[in-house]
Amino acid sequence: MTTPYNAAPSDNRSFTNGSGAAAIFSAGAGCFVLAVLAILGDKSALIQRSLVFYKPTGPLSGVTTVAILVWLVTWAILERRWRKKTLPAARISAIALALLVLSLILTFPPVGDLF
């Protein structure tokens, strides 16, 4: 019996990188969603109002809650799909890091104001 393509060897802690890749990619995606929502909330009064989940905190409550939900749901889905696989971690990490850097740039107000 042969090991199926991309399936985990017996010790998946040692050989597969899918679980780590899922965590890394979803963290980058979560940061990026937060940055995009922050800009959208700043540009559209309708979106801004819809993001007020807790009035004293204002739209920040919705921006962060939605971003965290997207991050956790993405992570859960990818963890389920990737945990027993070996994936091209370099590409996935590069995308996650690009999303993280973009997020840091987009949240800088002078950049966000360009949109």
Binding site: R13, S14, N17, S19, G20, A21, A23, I24, S26, A27, G30, C31, L34, A35, A38, Y54, P56, T57, G58, L60, S61, V63, T64, A67, I68, W71, A89, A90, I92, S93, A96, L97, L100, S103, L104, T107, F108, P109, P110, G112
Partner: protein, 176 residues
């Protein structure tokens, strides 16, 4: 501020620990006790990071952005409006707080991921070079995000409202 300050203090230790644990040339072997300590250290950082952003967003920030009653002249209890009332201080809000309130959330998201990956792979992370690199970069990003938030938090939430002046004073020297 307390949680964020502790988090910033812990960041440098985490970076050194992660580097030592996950770089093959830095530490040939680590004991299970050292690995367990690192796990507890990272979990503590996760708790601190989330405590910092949640207390900041839901306890401090509502006080910061509270709206003064119509016609109010004394804005000393309304920091956002106090800062926005003068062209000399409006930047603390439009740049400082606007950046801080969003960028600070990257710290708990990043460090949660870092802690998960370390707990999942442990010492074996040294065999996953790309994951290890990403974890270290996210750790640095977490430190940067917390540093930005900490700097503006200290300046805005404490100094600017307390002093209530018209100008931003980063330091004050004495004339000789």
């Amino acid at each position: 501020m307390g949680f964020g300050g502790l988090y910033l203090l812990a960041c440098s230790g985490a970076l050194i620990g992660l580097y030592q644990f996950t770089t093959s040339s830095a530490a040939p072997e680590s004991t299970p006790g050292q690995e367990r300590f690192m796990r507890i250290y990272l979990i503590t950082m996760v708790v601190l990071a989330w405590a910092a952003v949640l207390s900041g967003a839901y306890a401090i920030y509502p006080w910061y952005r509270a709206a003064p009653p119509p016609g109010a002249v004394d804005l000393s209890m309304f920091p956002q409006h106090l800062l926005m009332a003068s062209p000399a201080t409006i930047g603390w809000h439009s740049l400082g707080m606007e950046w801080k309130e969003h960028v600070s959330w990257f710290a708990p998201i990043s460090i949660t991921m870092v802690a998960f990956v370390f707990i999942r792979y442990g010492h074996d992370l040294r065999n996953h070079r790309q994951l290890r690199a990403a974890v270290l970069v996210f750790s640095v990003a977490s430190l940067v995000a917390a540093g930005i938030a900490g700097f503006f938090g200290a300046e805005i939430d404490e100094r600017a409202p307390v002093q209530g002046g018209n100008t931003i004073q980063l330091s004050r020297g004495e004339a000789k």
